[in-house]
Symmetry: C2
Subunit: 341 residues, 2 copies
Amino acid sequence: MKIAVDAMGGDYAPEEVVIGAIEAAETYNLDVALVGDEKRIQEVLRKYGAQENTRLTVVHASQVIEMGEHPAQAIRKKRDASIVVATRLVKEGCCDAVVAPGSTGAAVTAALLGLGRIKGIERPCIATPIPSKKGITVLLDSGANSNSKPQHLVEGAIMGFHYAKYILGIEKPTVGLLNIGEEASKGNELSQATYPLLEKLKTISFYGNVEGRDIPQGTVDVVVCDGFVGNVILKFGEGMAMFIIRLVKDTIKQSGFIAKLGALAIYPALKSLKKRLDFTEYGGAPLLGVDGSFIICHGSSKAKAIKNAIRVAGELVQQDVVGHIRKSIEEEEVEQYDSES
Amino acid sequence: MKIAVDAMGGDYAPEEVVIGAIEAAETYNLDVALVGDEKRIQEVLRKYGAQENTRLTVVHASQVIEMGEHPAQAIRKKRDASIVVATRLVKEGCCDAVVAPGSTGAAVTAALLGLGRIKGIERPCIATPIPSKKGITVLLDSGANSNSKPQHLVEGAIMGFHYAKYILGIEKPTVGLLNIGEEASKGNELSQATYPLLEKLKTISFYGNVEGRDIPQGTVDVVVCDGFVGNVILKFGEGMAMFIIRLVKDTIKQSGFIAKLGALAIYPALKSLKKRLDFTEYGGAPLLGVDGSFIICHGSSKAKAIKNAIRVAGELVQQDVVGHIRKSIEEEEVEQYDSES
């Protein structure tokens, strides 16, 4: 199995991306195609003594999508951008999955144009694992679509279910609809219209409405919502986690001498906690619904996050998540769309 | 000045509500009308030796809105419910502000029917103070309206500005529009349509778009969003905060002996931190836009939260926040609505 990695994506490219790829190839028995500026990638490979590693190949791409660029325009204009080339490798069957650190907008556009959608899916969406009391809650859509219709949330529920089942290994994942109250009648127009559609699904287990607090509580395995809401929650959660850890440290610092001694002792524990709350550690967020395995990573991803993302990309392929989604959508006879909207 | 308190509202009524009122009356030089079951309220007053306190009066109301009831129906049916009577006391000029613990839906309905709206405001909204790096960020709407239109967010921006200025004491509060990117063109239909309207405002300072992470970071003083999004964020934030504090404690417990010693030393500090993150400590959330001063408290409010809410209710009156909002709306020539929607 071979994973195409956009080696030029994210804030620490290519060095951290290449290190992550080297480690993943060694640890997970995977081949990796590093896509991007050949010269710069080779330099990093040499620096870390991996230039002879046969699991790693370099595929040259002369262009890069910068963070500030308009995603859709840039993807259409730069035909030799690393993310476009990486996606093409999968479309053409040379690779099995894409790992894309950096601009989410560019990654989504590249995937949509390069791989197309699974038949019956109108809006692919991003599934983000969020740390919770019970381990992980999958939140989707966390940023691909900002004006979701009920049908898109139904698609999200089906896709999130299969991600939780085959990647997180939960035998019968529960799916909740994010809302502002438990009763079916609660919420805004979108959630009110979505609830009865989710109730009708045969291939997944719909739990009912969940509220914001149910995400950290792990009430359900999968929480489905509009991409605007999901994105705001995700970023708020990341910010809150870092803010609280900072507060804990400051609180300790401002305490007396004994507390400071205590602090010295628990700092390592706090550090590991910070990692648990660092959403980027979980190996990226799959873009579900495109016709291929595609992982989006945070722009700030370092080697470990890239390594994890490559592992998850491999699992997506091995578990045939795309196939399971396709089958489920067919069984549900979800209304099919022709529009490109 | 006299504050009408729904003594039957919330999970710990009437005892905790009455204790909070006793403390507030003593501390803040305010009169309080305790509205509800006279016999039960008098019992609590006697229990705490406050039966002779002339700052406290009891106004009997024979009915209570239960948490499970449909708010609008219950308010219309139960004309002698404590929350309805408390609101009526303000409408009739006997009291200056309402403090309402318990069901948010019932409180909003009681306020809308009992006090009406400020001229030019179509949708009153709930402003919730959220702890942030810089102190407090005001999030509104945090749950009154689930299907906001651009105009409602504009109203929210104006109201949040005056709340931050006159109650939080920020001389020139900045107002941000919650979105999924910084550029004006980002976001969903609602945020895209709202941005240019906020830019045009003359009486407040619009900062531009902010993202989820800007709420804990305190990038702006006021964050305006749709009530569905705000409510989900608020509950997610409360859940996250409690989850992380729990994690910190567990992390310490699972560490070795020295860490446990350290933990003993820092537990008091953690407790105070938990309080800082307890959104209910801040004295409730004002319902802005109704034609009167009205504070909604969490259903789980204990005496301290009630006491703080009564203080903030007094400040709303003293600072004439309703008057400032009215003036600002007139100056902005915000489109006026006649509909009851």
